[in-house]
Amino acid sequence: MLPYLTARAPWFTFLVHPRDPSDLMLAGVGSVLREYSEGEEDFQRKSCSLPPLVVGEVAVGSNAVRGELVVAMCLPRDIMSRAGQRAVIAAAQMSAQRGTRVLGLGALASPATGGGALLLDELPPSVTVTNGNAYTAAVAKHNVVEACAILQHTPPTCRVAVVGCTGSVGVATSKLLADAGFDLLLVGRSASRARTLLGSLADRATFAGDLAAVRGAEIVLLLTSDPSAKLVPEMVSAGAIVIDVAQPLNIAPEHRGAFRRRGIDVVQGGIVEIPGYRCSYEMNMPARGAFACMAETYLFAREGIREHSVGRPGAEFALHLERLARKHGVAPMALDITRPQGLAPQLVAAGS
């Protein structure tokens, strides 16, 4: 059954958007539009004029909880504009018309709508909205703990740079990492804003507004793909591990080689395994993998959570979702790092 043909109301809907122009080809009609377009710009314009699409179905084992994948046809460069906001709202309203109970926001659909808060006035009260950031924060913290173990460090001596610390994932993640005892470098657009939002962590963290400050960190956690926060190899110390949780990715896969040549591992974080998870739409994910924010949407539906989770979630709620995830067998996917056992990389100053 094609997902948009069914009249069965989904338990949950995960709302995404094309992460880059190559994703436009995944809309099925992409190759036809390209053939009948006058150049790349015309193709992108036509593709982004398409209505919201139901592109896939999500099933979890034999569980009755069934989800749909809905795409708002808007590229990252436009999604923060009014037009992008309208595209996300239209996709959310279509999901509501299809009878969804829980709406989860993927990639930039959350920041485009104020962490999901702007959607509340646009949707009927029967729809619960989550931006997926709470469980993403919990998984990001788990990724850092795992990377720390790979580096054969312990939290007090492991310096972790959190890039995007003031975002809706960043605040909760920073608090979780501080509670775990890590030595934190919190990087936001402005150090003063980071200090205002996360001042309670001042005894365990330093604050920075400049990306260059990540030099010296053993682990760099990327929670934003904002153009002003694009990481380049020269900024990072050799031997470090970079965990990219941002969507779209902060570091495109084709740029990972440049980091690798400097002895820096770049891995995608924020990915989980859900037992029996099947998605009929190819999202170019690791095998068996799902985004943590998608998993949070599933957990909301599975547990019947009726309170919205919009804006910046608290660390307590992230831990609550981590417990729910464990209850349903949902677990963070191991980081894809292979380093020789017993060989702790030496951290050397970048540029040396």
Binding site: Y4, L5, R8
Partner: protein, 146 residues
């Protein structure tokens, strides 16, 4: 005075029925002509014949119509009907094959059709003029046609 006989008499009396409501339980249709569908300012493609069948996923409550047999000079009556169908465009085969495009263009789409029809004078058939509304979810969503 109301009596049992009077009530029985009312039941037996036959009022002339000029309007009949009906529901659509099954439907299969094939368009005679192709439709030109624009792809760009200069280019368009032919839909080929459009093939429709009743939408098994739609609520049956929506498939309903009414025939008005009121005598008219020009026809045998009027008919209005609304029904949900799934449609495919087999005429796109050449387009998809020639460009090695994604076969999802062949996939059916959900449509709600609203027709206003004129019964033939002998009431053996009707001529329909209607419009199609493509339901949300597919690339065709929002499109309308008649």
């Amino acid at each position: 005075m109301l009596s049992m006989e009077a009530i029985a008499g009312r039941r037996k009396s036959q009022e002339p029925v000029e309007r009949v409501m009906f529901s659509v339980k099954a439907l299969y249709g094939l368009s005679r002509e192709s439709v030109r569908m624009p792809l760009s300012k200069k280019q368009s493609i032919d839909s080929g014949q459009i093939c429709v069948t009743i939408d098994p996923e739609a609520s049956g409550d929506g498939n309903i119509g009414v025939i008005d047999y009121t005598e008219r000079a020009d026809c045998g009556g009027k008919l209005k009907v609304r029904y949900a169908v799934q449609a495919v465009f087999p005429g796109l085969y050449d387009l998809v094959r020639s460009g090695s495009h994604d076969p999802t263009l062949f996939y059916p789409v959900r449509i709600v059709a609203t027709d206003e029809c004129t019964l033939t004078a002998d009431r053996s058939g009707w001529h329909a003029l209607g419009c199609l509304d493509f339901l949300p979810g597919s690339v065709w969503a929002g499109a309308t046609g008649g």
